[in-house]
Structures are given as structure tokens and as C-alpha cells.
Amino acid sequence: MASLESCENQREPYQPDPKFLSRLLLITGLALLLRVAWLWSQPVSPDDYMVGISAVNYLENGQLGPTMWNHPALRNILVYWSLQLCGAGVIGLKGWSLLFGTLTTPLLALVGRRIFRSDGPALLASFFWAIDALALDFSRQAINDIYLAFFPMLALYLAYRYLERANPCWLIGAGLSFGLGIASKWSVVFPLCATGLWLAWRLWRPVDTAPRPGALPRLALYGATLLLLPALVYLATFLPWFERGYGLSEWTQLQKSMYLETAHHTRYGKPITGDHNALVWFLRPVTFEDSFFIAPRGGGGTPESGGNEFVVFLAVTNPFIWLPTLPAVAYCLYRGARRKEEGPLFLAGLFICSYLPIALAARAIWLNTACAVAPFAFLAVAYLLWELCAAKARRRLLSGYCALTLLVALPLYPLLIGEGLKIPHMNELLLRYFKAVEGDEAPPAAGAGSTGNGRAVEQ
């Protein structure tokens, strides 16, 4: 790990964990297992289905939509390719989410060990990502929110590799990855800005040695790879749209339309309350709910629901992972400022840049957007826990904490894969949840597994 040594300040010697790789493989294996288990029998949600329809529509007609037309187009392109390659099955539809959600696990560890110059918190963050309900939920869905975790983490890893090797190819890779992230959703612009500023700051930071030469050429390189290249990648994903006869001026008009739709997206009539208020995401457990009706295989639905079955995917944030986030970020800032440690400061900057615009948004923000923030939050929490338990005597405390986190994650798993209504006590809890969150809109017979109130019944 000589290269890793060279990329950070040399205040404390970096001691790589000889078991890092094996532990990382184990955690990644766990992440993969939790993401594929029962995936083939998981009901196809209307969103999943419309992702497939939109992918075909975009690549064959050049038309954005019919669903989520205001988001950039990368998902349409990737899903269309996988549908062509693997057919309209689970892999064709959700293969990218599964891949990106799983690969974010080792990426968190690889980025984390570079930020903290320590393998322990890096592996801990990776473990959190492997078992967290939100990360699991969106790794199992066709919609592209999990891309918002994967592409920035990949870009950060490549940016660190650039600093280690001083080879611009890594930076070009980082620019491409940020570009693909922005072509998934615009929120990836925030970590890109943080990374760009951090790299630029490194050119002028005070160092013990002689002033570093060639700062301006390198700044030009950063601008080209982290501004122009992502913009070009983003633009290129609109190729099928351009093939409809549009020119560049019309493209800018389209971006304006997409922005206005996104800025005022209130389609479901939800106010900025409850879990749709990003300010509360790290203050109490929050949920992402996707409920729908589907015709069950081989029948079995009740007559009241038109023969359809009521399904709920409910991702509940694990309080042991999410709730220490804000103190953890504050600790990163304190530690970074006090000891002049670049890594924790950079991590805090990444979190603040990614979270603040969402938290201050003037409209309801669904928890799926948290996929763009969660990796930074998990890294910060892992760092705080690791530092609190720095003494060997306290390592057992950390093990206990992890065990508690896992214990809480266990009952959340059936909820997020849509099996909650089939489990007796969980069924009642879900019904209570609906009453609390949805009020009068609560499905009256949800406890029985079906109602007459839903999208599919309207066919």
C-alpha cells in the first residue's frame, strides 16, 4: 500500500489490515446475498414495469417518459441494453441496480480506507451499506436511485487512485463516472463540486516541502476532466432524443423543462411533511413505501380487490446506522479541523454538499433521494463509532453495536422485499403504519392482504 501512503498526509503511519480483502469479500458476499434473495419471486411494481416501458420508448422512439421523463436518460439506455441482452426478466430489468448496489459495498470500503487511512471504519461503513434497508430496497428495484450511490463512489475511488498514481487516466475515469452519475440524476453534481473543490484546494494547500509546481496546468486538467467530460457524457445520453430532429437550442429548452418539472414535482400531492421532509431523515427512523396491487400468480387475490393482491415494499431506515449521522459529521469536522486531517474534512464536505441542497428544498423529497447521501453518512458514522471504540477494551462495544444493528436489520428485511403482509405480527404493524402515515387513505383491508383501492384495480 505504498501508493496509499503517498496520497495523504503522513501524520500517522497507515497500517493496512492483512485481512482487509478477505473481510471485504465476505461483506460483499453478504451484500449480494441480501440483494438477490427472493428477488426472482419479488412482485414487479408498477415503477419496475414502467422503467422497462420507458427504456424501450427512449431507445426506439427517442422520447423521454412516459414515466419520470424529467430525469436524465442513462437508466433508459442501460436498461434497454440489458433487456436486449438478457431478456425482460429480473436481470434484464434490475440487473444494473443489483450490480451497482452490490459494487457500492466494496467501493465504500476502498474509498473509506483512503479517507480515514484506516481499514476498520472503511469495512464498518461497507457492512452498514450491505445490510441497510434503503440500500437493499433500491438495489432490488429497477428505478435508478441506487446509481446515485454507485457512480459518485466509483468516481471518488478513481480520483483517489489519480492522486496515488499521478496518472490522469484515473481522473478521466472519475470524470466519466461523475458524468454517468449526473446522467442518472442531477443530484450527483453536488459530490462532483465537492470533489473538484477538494482537488483544487490540494494544489494550493500549505505543505512542508517546496511549493508544488504546475498548479495551473493541473487545474486546467481538473476543469477538463471534472467539468467538460461529465457534461459531454451527460449530453451524449441524449443521443436518441437528438435523433428525433432536435438541435442544441431545443436541448437547452428541454433541460429547462426538466428542471422546472423536477423543481415543482408534486404529482402525488404529498406535502413536505413526515418522511418527505429531508430535514428529519437523520433525526428519526424514516420510510420509503411503495404499495400497489398485482394479479397473483395462479390467482389467490380476494374478490374485494378485483382478484388482485396488495403488496407493500417498505424500507425503514436502521436507527443504529442513520441516527448517529449528524453527530458523526460534526465529529468529522471537529477532528479534521483540530488535527488538520484532510480525510474527515473532505468527507464532511461531501456529506454537506450532497445533503444540504436536498434538506433545504422547497418541495417534498422522497427518501429514495437519500441514496445519494447515505454512503457519506455511513462513512461518517462508521468513523465516529470506530474512533469512540479506539481502545482495544472498547472493541467489544463496537461488536455489540454491530450485532444490534444486524438484529434490527433482520425484521426490516421482509418488509423491504414485500413479504411484510404475509407475516402475522408484521402485518399488524404495517396496518398501523398505514393508519399513521396515510390517514384516511389507509387501505382498509390491508391486513387481509388486499383491498379494492389501488392502481391495478383501475384497469
Partner: protein, 245 residues
Amino acid sequence: MLSSSRSSLLIAALMVALSLSGVLALDRLGRAARSFGVCGPLASQAVSKVRVAQSVEAYRLWRARHYRGRTVLFLGANWPKVQPDGFIEPPAAREYPLKLDNYVATLEAQFLDSTTFLFMATQTGVARRIIAVLPETGFRNMMEGTRKAKHVELHNGYLLVPYMGYPRFFATLKDLVDPGEPVLVYLAADFFQECSAQQLYTRLKEASVASDQVVLCDQAGEATVSEAARRELDRFAQLIGAGGR
């Protein structure tokens, strides 16, 4: 290993060149995707003029002639408003392998009619944008109806109300200006409820409207369209050298 200042600058310059080329290439590719027939002023003999009974026939004609990426100039009293949101919903039975039909082909097969023909033109790629010229009352109604839309702009009498990203402009005849390219003209008989054939012809000429395909629609069977309006359409047909009914 490219780590020197010179190589950094070289890569930056390459990126700039690549970005500029990419932007220009996409713009050019888009413009090249537009397909035109023989274009000219409306009265030109070279311009194809077709009289149809119903608007849906205009759409079928555009499709048959493989027009693509075009501006449609719609002239009518009533904007054919559609609510496409509910056209296609996910089916109740969704089992792997999913049946993922081409959305536009399904729309066209199931929902094409005299109201949806313009919407279909935007979906199938015939039209990349629409300029709808409405009578004063129709335009005022449109202004009122789109007040709460997420994206509305008013410039020089042109009301821009995009739908899912594709541009739709609304204007009155007095504000019509050169569309900047040959357009597919669709003229409905009911447009003549508030203006004469001569007035329309003069304004289109003043606005330098050029076309390769003019469709005149009698709107047969529509009770709201008067016989006087259809006679005015006849007169307009004579003015541009098109055949009568």
C-alpha cells in the same frame, strides 16, 4: 505516465476539442434527422397540397410520407387537448418475462383519432415541435388554462407550453413570424370562424411561411364547423392553388 504540466495541458486541450466536437456533432446529427419534401411558398406548384375530410387523415399522410423531426403549423379554432397520462397503465398481471411493448406503437394502434392526431405526431417523431395558431378567443383560453403549468413562457406573443419536454408554441395570426424552416401546415376549416381566407393567406405570406406539405381539413361530421367556414377553406385552397372538395 502523463504527469507533467505539458501533458496536463495537452489532455485539457484534447477534452475541450472533444467537447466542442461532441456538441457540434450532436447538433448536426439532430438537424440531419429532419426529413423534408420539396419545399416552397404555399402557393408554389411544387408544394404538395391535400384536402382531407378528417384530421386523422393528415396524420396518416404524414406517416405515409415519412416526415420526421418537423415543425407542424397547426391552424384551427380548437387546440385538440388530450390527457395522455392515463393512456397506458401497467397491467395487473406483471410476470417475468415482461411484455414490454413499444409505447408509441401501442398508443398509435389504440388511441389514434381526430383528437389525438397531433399528440401522436409528436410521439411518433413526425413533429418535434408544434406551432399552434389559434383565434384570439382560443389563445386567451389557452393563456388562462396554462397559468398554473410548471413551464410556461410568453415571448413576443408566442406562448410556450412544453409537454414532457417537447415544445408547443401557441400564438395568434397577428403575431405569427417566420418559423425558420419549412413546416407541415395543417389548416382546419374551423379556423375561418374569425378570419377570412384572404386574411390568412396574406398573413402567412407576410410571415414567409414555407412548406412541403399543406393539409386542408374539412372536419367532416363536426357539427361546430359551419358550412361558411368550409367555403372559406375552399377559397383558401384556390388562393394556394390546391384542388377543391
